[in-house]
């Protein structure tokens, strides 16, 4: 894709987001001027960059333009802000967003875009209370066209819209002869009248200028009626007028004749008010046209008042500018004289010498123009305060926009680096043991130390890069809550806090779907409709509160609503019905425990499958999704009052520190975060307490588990005098794991188990070790 297009799409999406955000803010606070201005500016900018791609993205420009005009009316207080207005504008944002998606895929707008765009722009303008522009309501079958429908030009006006080249050629051919300009618009039903416009036009004698155009934009092929004539012919002929009128006698009312002279064929001089060349992409300019425009502007500049501070800059820069222009145009003989008059002007502090020099060069400007500029010292000072903009603020944090795939690649590489460096100790060990190069071994370890340090820092900063604020998920909720609550006829306020809380990108991505489901639950099943709330003595407006915050190395997200809560009795009944719990359990289960049953697989209490939440994405899916990344979900509720769903997630995901342990000849990893210590316990200190092995460690009883047994590995044949015990705390209680031996701690890139091993309980993933072996990392929470 053209990088310009790619860049445009990026910026356009940002602008759309900004606009949507601003509009939602304005809904609750319509008088917020800065926000109104911000939204207006965003629309304006969008219109501007879309305009770079004309005519392809014309529909987009049109819609943005209409939106801009609407917002302009709002900020000028000509139009009050209303919910209806927001709806309309949000709709237009959605349309543009769809178009951007299309552009991203197909690099162009869909075929219906122009029709849709025109229609939408008309809708937007209608909200202004004005009739849509004539150009918006162009006749039947509006489709792709290369310009708007034009009204028939009157008199000789249309001549000046011809390209300079055509006019020049016509002037050459015509010379001083009498000429007639004619404009012929055949009746649309000419075909059915037996007329042949083309035949007529071909008969025109002595054509010196010919132009043909469409009266209305051409419809799309399927909407085109080839039997309707949509043409307009504009011709200048040196033939006798009598002959021309005779030729068109049967269609007299469709033709306009005007006598013209060669003077009318002169290209229009740069108009005084429109000296600046605007970008009209249909007319190409020649160097000399542009040069002429520049010269004319310089004269205009010289006529503007100037104060003591600016005249020198104006003069000297004009000199440089014009010298370059002359150089480029090949008018090298004018350069020296120009320099002379510039110097002269400088010494007399007056623009007159330059003006006199330039004036004759500019065609079409009468020589008698006398705009003498007064001496700078006497001119009224141009207040510099006018031109002064607000002071530059201290630069805020610089933000860099980066292609996500590049970051991912970089992160992968860092991950690999972390693992690769782990080979060095092995190497050092081999150097010593295999090659008896002890010194070499030592040096390798030294360098390993350095690399390790650097890698750790690199890893830390790169992990930072992966951190995203949860606002990237939260930001969609204002719109979601608004749309759905309106749809359901409920009055709901959304409060969000802690959006700046950060977590690893992967975690954020995982959170997205569960959160949408949970919020929809609150909207659909949680918060009651206004009448029910009133009956319950609650305020009519319900509230959903999204909070995010950090707790240690975990990120906590809470979704709280003040709706009707979860009824433990209903849950119990349902669970019993589905055979998830037996009668005994129903009796002695606490309300709290009952509520947690909603996470049990196979459970769902949506009474009716609403199109909002009943997509089969139940609470159990939320639960498993979170568990998959090492997180947890809890629900708490008071029936009739509130419901709170709490999501707990690890902050980071990519690189894990594990402790290596040896079991039955193989190596396993245990996440270092749950390891408390390593001890060696004498056989004699191991006791049996209630069927379980245990030992006393520093005055406390430590239950012991033989990891070989837990993993289903063969029992250790060698009787050991002392056991290696890894003390871990997976859930809050300390437990000692009896292993064959411990090894060192190591950094690994934890990869989830795939294929047939997916979802295997007890293992949180695998990793590749420095020496190429595969390490299985244990999930002790699941094992124990």
């Amino acid at each position: 894709m053209n990088p310009l297009l790619g860049q445009f799409i990026l910026e356009a999406r940002d602008l759309l987001e900004e606009t949507s955000k601003g509009l939602l803010q304005l809904e609750s606070n319509p008088d917020n001027m800065p926000v109104i201005n911000g939204v207006f500016r965003a629309m304006h900018t969008l219109k501007g960059s879309s305009g770079l791609f004309e005519p392809d993205f014309l529909p987009l420009t049109k819609v943005a333009h209409a939106g801009e005009d609407l917002l302009d009316a709002v900020r000028n207080r000509e139009l009050p802000f209303s919910s209806k207005l927001t709806d309309l504008l949000l709709e237009s944002m959605d349309l543009i967003s769809q178009w951007l998606d299309e552009i991203e895929g197909a690099e162009k707008l869909p075929a219906a875009a122009l029709a849709d765009g025109v229609q939408f722009a008309a809708k937007l303008r209608a909200a202004l209370g004005k009739a849509p522009d004539v150009e918006e309501v162009v006749g039947k079958g509006v489709g792709k066209g290369d310009h708007e429908g034009k009204a028939a030009p009157s008199g000789v006006g249309w001549l000046s819209s011809m390209s300079a080249q055509k006019l020049a050629e016509a002037a050459k051919k015509g010379g001083s002869a009498a000429m007639t300009a004619l404009c012929y618009e055949p009746d649309p039903s000419a075909f059915f009248f037996g007329e042949d416009p083309f035949y007529l036009v071909r008969q025109i004698p002595e054509i010196i200028l010919f132009h043909m155009e469409a009266r209305e934009p051409w419809p799309a092929v399927d909407g085109l009626d080839p039997y309707q004539c949509n043409l307009r012919f504009m011709v200048v002929s040196c033939g006798p007028l009598a002959e021309l009128t005779h030729l068109f006698r049967y269609v007299g009312e469709q033709v306009q004749f005007t006598a013209v002279t060669v003077a009318d064929l002169r290209p229009p001089s740069p108009a005084p008010s429109g000296g600046a060349l605007s970008g009209s992409s249909s007319v190409s300019r020649t160097d000399s046209e542009v040069f002429q425009a520049i010269l004319a502007e310089q004269l205009f500049i010289l006529s503007l008042p100037c104060d003591a501070g600016c005249w020198r800059g104006r003069l000297v820069s004009m000199g440089k500018f014009l010298t370059n222009c002359f150089q480029r145009m090949g008018f090298t003989e004018a350069i020296a004289p120009l320099e002379k008059v510039i110097k002269e002007s400088e010494s007399v502090r007056n623009f007159e010498p330059v003006r006199v020099f330039l004036a004759p060069m500019v065609t079409g400007i009468p020589k008698k123009e006398t705009q003498k500029t007064s001496l700078p010292s006497l001119a009224p000072p141009v207040s510099q305060a006018e031109a002064a903009a607000p002071q530059a603020e201290p630069s805020a944090t610089k933000i860099l926009k980066i292609d996500q795939s590049r970051i991912d690649r970089m992160l992968d590489l860092v991950g690999e680096l972390v693992v690769a460096k782990n080979s060095l100790p092995f190497l050092a060990s081999r150097a010593e043991k295999e090659y008896h190069a002890r010194r070499l071994g030592q040096e390798i370890l030294e360098y390993y130390g350095v690399i390790n340090q650097l890698t750790e820092e690199l890893q830390a900063s790169v992990m930072q890069v992966r951190m995203l604020p949860v606002s990237s998920i939260f930001q969609r909720f204002p719109r979601l809550v608004r749309d759905i609550s309106r749809k359901l006829g409920k009055n709901i306020q959304l409060v969000m806090e802690g959006e700046e809380t950060e977590a690893d990108k992967n975690i954020i991505e995982v959170l997205s779907d569960p959160m949408i489901h949970l919020v929809r639950n609150s909207l659909d099943h949680g918060i009651e409709d206004p009448s029910a709330r009133r009956a319950a003595g609650k305020p009519e407006e319900g509230q959903i509160r999204l909070s995010a915050f950090q707790e240690g190395d975990r990120v906590i997200i809470e979704i709280r609503d003040d709706g009707k809560g979860v009824d433990p009795a209903v849950i119990k009944a349902k669970a019993y019905e589905k055979g998830l719990i037996d009668e005994e359990r129903v009796e002695n289960i606490t309300d709290q425990e009952a509520i947690q049953l909603i996470f049990a697989p196979g459970f769902s209490t949506a009474e009716q499958i609403s199109d909002l939440s009943g997509r089969g994405v139940g609470m159990d899916v939320v639960n498993t999704t979170l568990k998959r990344v090492g997180g947890r979900v809890f629900v708490n509720s008071v029936k009739g009052e509130w419901t709170l769903v709490r999501l707990e997630l690890p902050m980071t995901m990519a690189i894990t520190r594990v402790m290596l342990i040896e079991l039955a000849g193989a190596m396993y990893g245990v996440p270092l975060e749950i390891v408390v210590e390593t001890v060696r316990v004498e056989r004699s200190d191991i006791h049996r307490v209630k069927q379980q092995e245990a030992t006393v460690l520093r005055g406390r009883l430590l239950p012991l588990v033989r990891l070989r047994d837990l993993l289903g590995l063969s029992s250790d044949e060698n009787g050991r005098r002392e056991e290696a015990v890894l003390v871990v705390r997976p859930t809050g209680e300390e437990i000692g794991l009896i292993v064959d031996d411990f090894q060192k701690g190591m950094d690994i890139v934890l990869k989830p188990l795939e294929g047939i091993l997916t979802g295997l309980p007890g293992y949180s993933g695998g990793a590749l070790m420095g020496d190429g072996r595969v390490l299985l990392v244990l999930n002790l929470k699941e094992l124990l």
Binding site: Q7, A276, L277, G279, V290, L304, S317, K320, F321, Q327
Partner: protein
Amino acid sequence: MKKVLLVDDMKTVRLYTRQILEAAGGFEIHEASNGVEGLEKALESSFDLLLVDVNMPKMDGYTMVGELRKDPSTLAIPIIMISTESKKMDREKAYQVGANYYLVKPVAPDVLRIVSQLAVGAVP
């Protein structure tokens, strides 16, 4: 090679202009995304041409150009201001602060190219 500084807060516009000038050849292109950055860069190295947008955050084009015309090192550099506004008032303001020419967005590619080439006296 003629050194050009593009000053515009929109990356899309800078890229658009860059593509046009690169296609024309003979230009060494630098960019700045606001008036402050533009001012700094223009004062730091010597450019043959500045293409300056009007509406920018931190410091708008008018202020930036005004400042440059006060400094002897940038007093004479050809400066072309580009804006979405076509009103006479805005054009005049640009010239008052010292611009040498004024273009209205969206600028046609050939106009942009021709004006730039004229402004630096590019060898044909």
